[in-house]
């Protein structure tokens, strides 16, 4: 199917009244959770996941994806006005966004971040349209060993490209793989690690693991924390928002560079918007003629990272939709949603389900336009939201979590699972173990094992097969390179020195 035909299919799918409605719900919920600090896109998507069981899979995906990229728009609002990132990925935006608000330039900052988010997203969506079908076609040739190698690369890249301890991240990815083993072995029907609990026969529920690690853990960590000081903005007038001609000039290049960095990082399997916005910020600071202005309200300091995190979110769909390898932990949950709806993400998706693929892409355009409206003319609404104190929010969120996991299986057992992972998540946070790799490992573990076994069967038990196929050998080589970087602290130190003092999990 060629591009124009695809776009036509997409328009027919995305412009039905129900698709438009779910897209609107998705991006509104996304902005909502994005604006509120203490609840992120991942928690929101896991919460909404059980609600989509009754929907048409395409509508469900359109809505869940909308939450994901919508949250990237909303996240910057709290960063600018409250000095607290609304989502972890908007942490960098605090550095220059909050000083701008203190100088009375909050409307300008909000306008610029919304526009940059839109530009970043648009560039990345064009790339998804161009590259995903190409990569999918190429990937049709993939054998089991190639799949094994590319999934392994995704897991290794996700856990080594962090600023925290690489060993802790690697340990967590392996822990995630271990969690993915729980349940019935598909090949032999053997129960593994179920400890006699009948409820675990199908493994841990994805919703329960994600809600625990990201929802409950987040709540425990946030209770009793001092709230930021909300910058008073009063009525936001449109004329205050518009940048001057020289300000437009100032942000043009940073936006484009941020979009490019974000698209690249996002398209890599396993690495997400957090690292993308960090790298975009570091790049601008190095290129700037006035690096001393950064951290004091530099426009470049908000435009590049905001373009980058939105671009990376959209670009994360390239490996997900073409290879079935999630570009980041949130997309991994989206992939889990596809699997729950009986759709196998992979190179066949675009050919087998063209209306889903193209419908989703066109809905990205619709959603991003809606977000522009939600975040510029209607910004006052979201600013009001920020004045709701957290101590009134979290009891409600806890109830939503309980009902959400209950509804997945109509079983109280999953509430206990959520609680267990919530406590574990809080302990991990305190000891510097990142939670996103756990989720990636958990979702990819069964696929990794399946391809390993198939590769072994086909190659008659020869481990060298992973290094003989050129595709697999390339991916294996890259994985080894990433692992080697862990043992070369010099390289990491150089990378770290270029980045500002902000760690990815510092939320």
């Amino acid at each position: 199917m060629d591009l124009l035909q695809g776009i036509e299919t997409g328009i027919l799918t995305a412009f039905t009244w129900h698709a438009l409605m779910y897209c609107f719900i998705g991006v509104s919920v996304g902005t909502f959770v994005g604006v509120l600090p203490g609840i992120g896109a991942l928690a929101a998507i896991s919460l909404a996941l059980p609600l989509t069981y009754y929907l048409d899979p395409t509508d469900a995906l359109i809505m869940l994806a909308g939450i994901f990229y919508g949250a990237q728009y909303g996240g910057s609002t709290a960063s600018i006005l409250l000095n607290l990132p609304g989502t972890a990925t908007a942490a960098i935006t605090c550095l220059d966004g909050y000083p701008m608000a203190r100088q009375g330039k909050a409307p300008l900052a909000i306008f610029v971040t919304a526009i940059n988010s839109f530009v970043g997203s648009s560039i990345a969506i064009v790339l998804v349209m161009g590259f995903a079908p190409l990569i999918a076609e190429f990937a049709l040739e993939f054998g089991a060993e190639d799949y094994f190698a590319v999934i392994l690369l995704g897991l290794v890249a996700a856990s080594t490209m962090t600023l925290g301890s690489p060993f802790k991240a690697l340990a967590m990815v392996v822990f995630g793989l271990a969690l993915g083993m729980v349940g019935t072995d598909v090949n032999t029907g053997q129960f593994r690690f179920t400890f006699g609990a009948f409820e675990l026969a199908d493994g841990f529920s994805l919703v329960a693991v994600a809600m625990g690690l990201f929802g409950v853990a987040e709540i425990i960590a946030n209770i009793g924390q001092p709230q930021g000081v909300l910058q008073k903005v009063g009525r936001i007038r449109f004329t205050d928002m518009l940048p001057t001609r020289s300000e437009w000039k100032q942000i043009a290049w940073p936006t484009l560079r941020g979009s490019a960095i974000g698209s690249f990082i996002g398209a890599l399997p396993g690495t997400g918007p957090g690292i993308a916005s960090l790298m975009a910020y570091a790049t601008e600071m190095r290129l700037s003629k006035t690096p001393e202005k950064f951290g004091k309200g530099a426009l470049e300091g908000i435009s590049a990272p905001e373009a980058a995190n939105n671009a990376s979110v959209q670009a994360a769909f390239i490996p997900t939709l073409s290879l079935g390898i999630p570009g980041d932990a949130v997309v991994a949950v989206l992939m889990g949603a596809m699997i729950l709806h009986g759709i196998t993400p992979g190179p066949n998706l675009i050919n087998d389900q063209p209306q889903m693929f193209w419908g989703l892409i066109i809905s990205f355009w619709v959603g991003n336009l809606l977000l522009l409206v939600l975040n510029i003319p209607l910004i006052g609404l979201w600013v009001k939201l920020l004045s709701i104190p957290y101590h009134l929010l979290y009891p409600g969120i806890l109830i939503f979590i309980c009902l959400g996991v209950y509804s997945a299986d109509n079983n109280v057992f999953d509430i206990f699972v959520v609680l267990g992972f919530g406590i574990l998540g809080y302990l991990m946070r305190r000891t510097g173990f990142p939670a996103t790799p756990v989720l990636l490992g958990f979702i990819l573990g069964p696929i990794l094992e399946e391809n390993f076994r198939r590769a072994m069967l086909l190659s008659k038990g020869d481990l060298m097969v992973f290094f003989e196929s050129p595709i697999s050998a390339t991916f294996m080589g890259l994985s080894l390179l990433f692992i080697a970087s862990v043992f070369m602290p010099g390289l990491r130190a150089r990378l770290a020195r270029r980045s500002p003092k902000f760690s990815e999990d510092d939320d």
Binding site: F167, A171, V174, A221, C402, R453, M456
Partner: protein
């Protein structure tokens, strides 16, 4: 001093132990051969890898111990205790007394997690959650729960 430095090794040690236990569990399933890996094969590899990563974490702790020493935030006992209690009570009671009373219990207990709670406002939250949850989850999505009473 000695106690705290030993404590800093705990996370790594837990990872190593977890990996070994997982490998031990994997050993109780048929391992199979490389030609035809059994259900225990992959978990065994994972268990060993996890233990190795734990050793890496331990080595890292040893190296960075001198540099560390940043003041940790105190463990949020109060938040953990009341959050856990509220969710547990909800889980045990929701099928017996119905969604609305269970939700009220959850909000009341979770409200204690914060040192100073705004009870009148929490009552409004409870009212909202009772109505909204009943409408969306019980009527809308048809969860097999009753608003009030055993299901």
């Amino acid at each position: 001093m000695i106690k705290s430095s030993l404590l800093s090794y705990l996370p790594g040690a837990v990872v190593v132990l977890g990996g070994l236990l997982f490998a031990l569990g994997a050993a109780s399933y048929p391992l199979g051969t490389l030609l035809r890996p059994g259900p225990g094969f992959f978990p065994m590899v994972i268990g060993v890898a996890l233990a190795l990563m734990g050793l890496g974490v331990l080595a890292e702790t040893r190296r960075s111990r001198a540099a560390a020493g940043a003041a940790d935030e105190p463990f949020a006992w109060r938040a953990v205790l009341f959050t856990v209690a509220s969710v547990l009570v909800f889980a045990f009671s929701v099928e017996r007394i119905g969604y609305v009373p269970a939700a009220l219990l959850l909000i009341a207990i979770a409200g204690l997690a914060e040192r100073r709670s705004d009870w009148p406002a929490l009552l409004l939250v409870a009212l909202f959650m009772a109505v909204f949850g009943t409408l969306v989850f019980i009527w809308g999505l048809g969860l097999p729960l009753k608003a009030v009473g055993a299901s």
